[in-house]
């Protein structure tokens, strides 16, 4: 299942985490949400496994 998990803390800061997507498709899935929330490029943190899958995909 593809989901965007979120946690909004008491100060209003929100963390969103795209789960279940392959490779960089997670970026596409969350892009409009990030824009609506006012996120900037520097707010995004790529988890290490995404880089690993990207390398893996290139080998194929």
């Amino acid at each position: 299942m593809k989901v965007i998990e979120f946690v909004i803390d008491a100060s209003g800061e929100i963390k969103i985490d795209a789960v279940g997507f392959k490779g960089k498709s997670c970026l596409d899935a969350t892009a409009s949400y990030e824009k609506a929330l006012g996120a900037r490029d520097q707010d995004r943190k790529i988890k290490p496994e995404m880089h690993q899958e990207a390398k893996h995909d290139l080998r194929h």
Partner: protein, 145 residues
Amino acid sequence: MSHFVSVATVFKDVGCLVKALEHVCPHWAVRVGEGQVLYGYAGDDRSMAPRDGTNFAPPCVIRIDRTQVGTAANDFGVSRSHDGLLTLHISEYDQRCSGLDEAWVGRVKQQYQLAVLKKEAKRHGHRVEHQVKDDGRIVGKVVVS
């Protein structure tokens, strides 16, 4: 496979902010419209107050009448700047004495973020599930497929 994004609240959607205010203060009648003047407890026009003072407030797009905010309170309002960002205008008195303190602003920000997520999810045909935890956090997910 995932990435994560952490975002501080940036108010820019009037409709979502109205929903947030109506959720946090359901007894308030939220007035929406351009150019609304905020008045102080004595009926003074806050747009005429010294600009560097804490009671100054420009004309607003959201206004809550002071009689709903509290005893001896001032109007509460939200203005929109030229870049589209929204700013809350809470007098120093109401921050201290009417409950519109930092924790209250946090609750408004929480509900605003949730309203933004729901609005975006509806646009995409996605489903939002959420719950409020004992520590006050709102935890949930947008089901994409």
